[in-house]
């Protein structure tokens, strides 16, 4: 194990998978010469050259569909979208094309493509540079959606995503890029897609979270422990397909559920988790399910701190579930 930053763990995953498999290549704006806007492909251009680390013009719609075409012909593209907000320019590519090509052409080929993008607030970059849009993609049959909360996970999940024969929307959080953490050395650190990770065991309340909110939930759990509340934190890691079994097991143990994400609460992934629990294991619940998420409003430039959900919101939600016996 060694201590590395999240962004460096991404770089290692890309590098190892490119070494392992000649068909893996990187594509995106400023991924080559500049090494990526956030540094995810630093030095990879030098190492692999312009054939495999491909700088593109600002053309999200076409570069993403081009990757789809290449994937259907046997390559394994890893596309970088600089900010998640800009993926909206490539929605046809991802939703109409990439998600459906295999299915609508009768399973004639697979679509092994990863589209990476950082989401979230934290830079005061305003309404068009701070959004969390994972729920949109989780809603589209044919796509997988993965979100990693720390350097260990991001490396293992990204490597698995690249090896997966399905299209994966791989979502990072900008504020996590600088986060340091232990990451295994060697090329075989893989974390399976579709499996959640119980990041902390607890007996009173389950908090299901993704990405940055996993870390906020862990902080909340540490604080609440001092109040005598035992919180279990379940990191979904893969949002689509999500690990229902892990969530249901945890709720079966704690009988209380909070779901936390940075994305807008309304119609977010928390709604799907809550609805599934209500549909299938309602009797397990001792209290109404609480959700933590951003308010239903675009992200405000100077009120970002008020907007973004964090540790205090998780604590409040946990306490609320405990008040209803």
């Amino acid at each position: 194990m060694k201590d590395v930053r999240y962004i460096f763990a991404i770089k290692e995953a890309l590098e190892e998978e490119m070494e392992r498999d000649e068909s893996v290549f990187l594509l995106g704006e400023d991924v080559g010469l500049a090494g990526g806007s956030f540094g995810a492909s630093r030095d990879l251009f030098k190492k692999f050259g312009p054939r495999r680390v491909v700088d593109t013009p600002i053309s999200e719609a076409s570069l993403t569909s081009m990757a789809a075409g290449a994937a259907s012909c046997g390559l394994r593209p890893v596309v970088e979208i600089m900010f998640m907000d800009f993926v909206t320019c490539a929605m046809d590519s991802i939703v109409n094309q990439i998600a459906k090509m295999r299915y609508m052409f009768g399973n004639q080929f697979s679509m092994p493509i990863v589209v990476r993008m950082p989401e979230g607030a934290g830079l005061n970059a305003g309404p068009q540079h701070s959004q969390c849009l994972e729920a949109w993609f989780a809603h589209v049959p044919g796509l997988k959606v993965v979100m990693a909360a720390n350097p260990y996970d991001v490396k293992g999940l990204l490597k698995s995503a690249i090896r997966d024969d399905n299209p994966v929307v791989f979502i990072e959080n900008k504020t996590l890029h600088a986060m340091k953490g232990q990451v295994p050395e060697g090329a075989d650190h893989l974390i399976p897609l579709g499996k959640a990770d119980v990041k902390r065991q607890g007996s009173d309340v389950t908090v299901v979270a993704v990405s940055r909110l996993v870390n906020e939930a862990l902080r909340a759990a540490a604080d609440l422990e001092k109040e005598g509340v035992s919180v279990e934190v379940v990191d979904l890691m893969t949002v689509q397909p999500w690990d229902k079994e892990a969530v249901f097991n945890s709720v079966g143990k704690t009988h209380r559920l909070v779901i936390a994400h940075e994305a807008t609460k309304q119609f977010g992934i928390g709604a799907e988790v809550a609805a599934s629990v209500a549909e299938e294991i309602l009797d397990e619940l001792d209290a109404p399910v609480m959700r933590v998420g951003a308010p239903f409003v675009p992200i405000h430039y100077s009120l970002e701190k008020v907007y973004v959900p964090g540790v205090e919101d998780v604590k409040k939600a946990v306490r609320a579930t405990l008040q209803r016996a």
Binding site: L33, A61, S62, G126, Q128, H300, Y301, S302, V306
Partner: protein, 319 residues
């Protein structure tokens, strides 16, 4: 359209200096942490906003980009409230919601900066469409960079505006860079104005000189106003301070940056005006002093404005 008068030339000079000093002030307060988020300045590119806006009325439209302060100022945005917006204050033009990247003042036809590269081009064409629909002689100016000409929206909008004969001026500031990619990495052709030919409209190339830009844009605006359709104007300029404030431009090298800075559209114009005795050193001093105090006032205004309260966050989201 005749040659600009002496008074007009002095006015151009003053306007360019005002944009330069305003952005220098922004860099200063940004570095001090008083402005948050991203700051993209257009220092070295002041000629285009002044040259084009000289032809625009308050009821004409302009759309800008992440690098759009110059156009907003040239089109008549009030420095105080613009500064308040960048400071994230309630009295800013956008209620402190937007900062630099979405500065707008519809009362002056400033349709808003855009955080999405290429996102604003069709929106501006929509303003042109509205003018034509209403039968007015208003025009709309879409401004964007070289990098934006690789977005589908650029190509689609030029075609749309051309077949619909819209009163639009497409003004491309080719500063040779799209973030960290130099032009040859993102476009095979050196002259982006060549792209106009595919859409059946004139494509004009001008150097970074306020008079040249004034003249080229004058023709384009006249063409649009009389219903003869859109024009693509390409200004050859340079980006002095990197993509955003704080970009050390290591990928470019100091020599190249120094070379770019040696070609200064303001200094060159100033030298010409001095030589032709249109401007005296004392005039320059007066212009600088006036602008300095105007900017001090704007910053002081912004500093004392309150932040919006949390309860105002969603105000007016729906009508």
């Amino acid at each position: 359209m005749g040659k600009p008068s002496k008074e007009t030339m002095i006015d151009f000079y003053r306007r360019m200096v005002r944009i330069r000093r305003a952005e220098e002030k922004l860099m200063e307060v940004f570095s001090a942490g008083e402005i948050l988020g991203f700051l993209h300045v257009s220092i070295g590119q002041e000629a285009a906003p002044v040259g084009v806006c000289a032809h625009l009325r308050d009821d004409d439209y302009i759309g800008t980009t992440h690098r759009g302060h110059g156009y907003a100022i040239a089109k008549g945005i009030e420095l105080k409230r613009a500064m308040a917006e960048l400071f994230g204050r309630r009295d800013g033009y956008c209620m402190g919601r937007s900062g630099s990247m979405h500065l707008a003042d519809l009362s002056k036809g400033i349709m808003g900066a855009n955080g999405i590269v290429g996102g604003g081009i069709p929106i501006v064409a929509g303003a042109g469409f509205a003018a034509k629909y209403k039968g007015t002689d208003q025009v709309a100016v879409a401004t964007f960079g070289d990098g934006a000409t690789n977005q589908g929206t650029f190509h689609e909008t030029l075609n749309l505006a051309s077949v619909m004969n819209l009163p639009v001026i497409f003004l491309c500031e080719n500063n040779g860079w799209a973030e960290f990619s130099p032009r040859p990495v993102h476009a095979k052709i050196e002259n982006l104005a060549d792209r106009a030919a595919s859409y059946g409209m004139p494509g004009v190339i001008v150097k970074n000189d306020v008079i040249d830009i004034y003249e080229a844009c004058g023709e384009a605006v006249e063409r649009a106003r009389k219903g003869a359709g859109p024009t693509l104007v390409e200004v050859k300029c340079d980006r002095w301070y990197g993509h955003y404030v704080g970009d050390a431009q290591k990928y470019r090298g100091k020599e190249k940056v120094d070379e770019a800075m040696a070609k200064d559209c303001i200094k060159e114009f100033e030298a010409r005006l001095l030589k032709e005795k249109i401007l005296r050193p004392a005039d320059i001093e007066k212009i600088e002093t006036d602008i300095r105090s105007e900017l001090e006032e704007a910053v002081n205004f912004a500093r004392q404005c309150p932040y919006p309260g949390p309860e105002e966050m969603a105000a007016g989201l729906y009508v």
